[in-house]
Symmetry: C2
């Protein structure tokens, strides 16, 4: 038998432990074309909150009383597929459980010589690709332009800022603790960083961006997104990746209307999800792997140990506790 | 001597007559390379309200105690330019006054055989080009898509809807009187039209757009703009041309934040002003003239007679009184 985690209630506002349940279920046997995987790492991500609501969105909602799924790294312990061998390390969108039987089409091998396995949940995985396509396809920052990124110490924001630096931009990060600010400036080479919890964000942004804002990579929304609008330069671009400040709102998200600001600066806002770029994942993965190997991109992980800590690790995301990618380590790779 | 109209106070909220003054000034004499023009038509436009504030925007603010300028049609009555002859009909950004002395570089001739002179202030002028580039460059509607336009009976919106019909879209207009609704459906061939003053706009929009909204051409902002957001289809496009509902606001324009909606539908919003497309005006003018001659585009004007009515005609814009382009006729073309 093994443990798995189910969604048993749709969260009202901020999720709580009562919305989830651990269940004991059989491990299962692979049929022809399937493999049995032991879970090594589970990715916990803010976007999963959206799937817990029963509303139409870019991914269908989670079913109640079913296992939650997200990006997972695991190791093949039994293979009935010609494409996978025992001990292969693989990734796929899999359940929050200790073992998974999956069809060979639902996983792909990863190269743990290039980077540790967990990197395939962050900089070489979904969050790295999200940073890459949002910034380069939508905003295309030019040398000397000012790029502001919110959620800058998170898994997406930290890569956004580093790619913007590679492209020669002046990069300002917004994050929520002094530890994160120091990390952005001293470790990742951001030109400036703002702790929005300790300053007036409007004043601090204006001071940090004396030449205005050409690109704002939006991860958080809310008052931070509002504060950017008056500072936009002509032809500014805003890739809209996330709005974590509103994910647990129970009422409409009310703030500055954008129309007047977009007209004044002929600015663009474009929402996206990484799936929009599925046909270009190879391009993005190769670029990110190249920068990683060249030492031009660093990444950080907040690794929580133990399958029984998975729910806590997810809930912590909404407290801003994580630096870089939040990952749960379930078992060692052998 | 002649009359001119100056801005003497920056309006606080909705402009009033007290913000303007008629002054008597000399007519002036053209020097070498200049012409003297008698004003025939003056364009009054919502965007002029923005120039009455003392804030940085895409065009500099009007100076206090100076003559107001906008697009004007006039006839040359004395020429010291090799490029213009007496009786040529010309257009340019000129003052609100009965006569103007202007350098030859500030005006261009118009062809009154192709269309009446006043059309060069609307469908063949700035508002037609605004419709053309915002719709076709930013939104590029495809056959069968649903295009919604607000301010649909205005000078821009009415052309937007007709171009969208030419492109094979299903077109829904939003306007503020039953007369306008009848005009859109019966005269301009819109598929549907909503009088936002007599219905619940959210319900009415959902009913009028059973397949969702692919393109929303934004002219008004406010609650109408908010009502569109939940209906956006995947990869929807929103050219943001105007937000007349907020032009007279004295406080921040507060409403639905857009981030969550843009992410859910991978939608794009893009602010613009027609000047962004200056290098392509010839393309736009030729396309509009072609459709006009082929009878594929109709246009309407609300012509107010008499220079002394110019201020009233401008103030009426914010009451939604005009159908099509608002123009003041100052004198006959001879």
């Amino acid at each position: 038998m093994q443990q798995q985690i189910k969604l048993i209630k749709r969260p009202s506002g901020t999720p709580t432990k009562e919305d989830f349940e651990f269940a004991e279920v059989p491990i299962g046997e692979p049929a022809e074309g399937e493999v049995l995987i032991r879970t090594n790492y589970i990715s916990v991500d803010p976007y999963l909150r959206g799937r817990m609501n029963n509303v139409k969105s870019y991914v269908p909602p989670f079913e109640l009383d079913s296992v939650i799924t997200s990006a997972v790294i695991g190791q093949v312990i039994e293979s009935k597929s010609a494409h996978f061998e025992k001990n292969d390390v693989v990734t796929g969108a899999l359940g929050w459980q200790e073992y998974t039987v999956v069809d060979q089409s639902g996983i792909r091998k990863i190269d743990t010589n290039l980077a540790p396995a967990s990197a395939y949940l962050s900089v070489l995985g979904m969050t790295g690709l999200t940073a890459y396509f949002g910034l380069l396809d939508i905003a295309d920052p030019k040398e000397g332009e000012t790029v502001v990124v919110s959620g800058a110490a998170g898994a997406v924001g930290s890569v956004v800022g580093q790619i913007a630096k590679i492209k020669g931009a002046y990069v300002v990060g917004i994050a929520g603790s002094n530890e994160k600010i120091e990390y952005l400036k001293n470790e990742l080479g951001f030109d400036d960083a703002i702790n929005y919890k300790t300053v007036d964000i409007k004043t601090a942004l204006a001071n940090a961006c004396p030449n205005g804002i050409d690109v704002y990579y939006e991860n958080v929304g809310g008052e931070i997104g509002d504060a950017v609008l008056p500072l936009l330069n002509k032809f500014a671009r805003i890739p809209v990746c996330g709005a974590i400040s509103s994910y647990n709102n129970q009422e409409a998200d009310i703030g500055l209307r954008v129309q007047g600001y977009l007209i004044k600066s002929s600015a663009l806002m474009k929402g996206f999800t990484v799936g929009d770029y599925a046909s270009r994942f190879k391009e993005g993965s190769e670029a990110l792997a190249g920068w990683l190997q060249a030492g031009k991109i660093q990444y950080e992980e907040t690794i929580t140990e133990g399958f029984d800590q998975t729910i806590d690790a997810f809930l912590d995301l909404f407290q801003g506790a994580n630096l870089g990618k939040a990952v749960v380590k379930v078992s060692d790779i052998e």
